[in-house]
């Protein structure tokens, strides 16, 4: 599934790198602890978190994630958006909580790893 379809299906805001939505999502991962994400998320995953700190961009870039969905309307810092544009990492926003977002992604056929 393309990132663009997820954006439109979940009605997500696009806060950065809007020119990168044609990537294909290979699966999903959710955690707010970046140490866990670094250990577990797979390349091509969409990452769901409410952590909006600038370090999320480096983690997504390092792991070649397709994008980051920031949940619960968590306030994005300017530095995070700037860095995400530089690194071509799409940051997507929603007021929905993480559980709801993950349920919707699963309903679209996006799977987590075992």
């Amino acid at each position: 599934m393309k990132l663009r379809e997820v954006v439109s299906s979940l009605n997500l805001g696009v806060a950065s790198a809007s020119d990168t939505l044609d990537q294909t999502i290979t699966g999903g991962y959710a955690s707010d602890l970046l140490s866990c994400v670094m250990a577990k998320a797979q390349a091509g995953n969409i990452w769901v978190t409410l952590q909006a700190h600038v370090n999320i961009v480096a983690v997504a870039s390092l792991l070649n994630l397709t994008g980051i969905i920031i949940t619960e309307g968590s306030r994005l810092e300017e530095a995070t958006i700037e860095k995400a544009n530089e690194e071509h990492i799409p940051i997507l926003t929603t007021p929905l909580p993480t559980f709801t977002v993950v349920s919707k992604l699963a309903a679209l056929g996006i799977q987590g790893t075992d």
Partner: protein, 246 residues
């Protein structure tokens, strides 16, 4: 003229809901003296309301008390913040309170938050929930504390929760930190191996004491005076100052 000072820069009092009732000023000072500590930091969760009492209790003991706060950032990272004077810490406390949600503490879940005098006598309870996140980012906390003339150290970075490395993975490259704090149960060399991302940082180790038996004397500073500025010089290894964990 340099002095060698044993320090525990991260100690809670009965104001922290998770601390034991024995964490009152005279007992903290007595324990510090038993351990040979010359310098202690008083750092309750998101509040400095007991720092003046501990400073008063330390008078005549030869122990220097640095007043501070253990702030919880919006990323749920704990940061030990320390100052030279209670006035500075209380200014910082006002900022922290402005950024803390206005929730009531639930004593059954979290424990009571006691404000006490220098002898440890009960003055009042803080009814506000202190054991939660402010809405300040890690960067904001470090910048504001440094602007106020204080010192900010990410707490217990090698802990699996409420720590910079667990929550944010690595130290943001633009963050100017003189040192990081590791757990009192950790060996510095092991931490450096386990977390290559902080290999280049100076480390200190404090007790994060919530009871008297958890206070520790394992960080030693070579400094000219027990002040924040001198600690920073020691952490940066400048002008003949240094700090070591043993």
């Amino acid at each position: 003229m340099f002095q060698y000072v044993l320090a525990d820069l991260h100690i809670h009092t009965v104001l922290s809901p998770c601390a034991e009732v024995e964490m009152i000023p005279p007992l903290i000072i007595r324990r510090a003296r038993e351990l040979g500590l010359g310098l202690i930091g008083i750092t309750d969760h998101n509040s400095a309301e007991n720092v003046a009492a501990v400073i008063e209790a330390a008078q005549g003991s030869g122990i220097t008390v640095l007043p501070g706060i253990e702030v919880q950032t919006r990323e749920e990272v704990h940061v030990v913040t320390l100052f030279d004077t209670a006035q500075q810490a209380l200014v910082w406390q006002m900022e922290v309170f402005n950024h803390l949600p206005n929730l009531k503490n639930n004593e059954d879940h979290f424990g009571a938050q006691f404000v006490v005098d220098a002898s440890g006598e009960y003055i009042r309870r803080n009814e506000r929930l202190l054991a939660t996140s402010t809405d300040m980012s890690l960067e904001m906390v470090v910048a504001m504390v440094q602007d106020l003339g204080g010192l900010a150290l990410p707490a217990h970075v090698d802990r699996p929760s409420f720590s910079l490395l667990a929550n944010l993975g690595f130290v943001p490259p633009d963050l100017d930190l003189p040192a990081v704090e590791i757990l009192c149960s950790s060996q510095e060399s092991e931490v450096r191996q386990r977390f290559p991302q902080i290999r280049g940082f100076t480390m200190v180790s404090s007790g994060d004491a919530h009871r008297l038996s958890e206070m520790v004397a394992r960080t030693i500073f070579k400094i000219a005076a027990p002040t924040v500025a001198e600690l920073v010089l020691a952490m940066r290894g400048e002008d003949g100052r240094w700090v070591e964990i043993y």
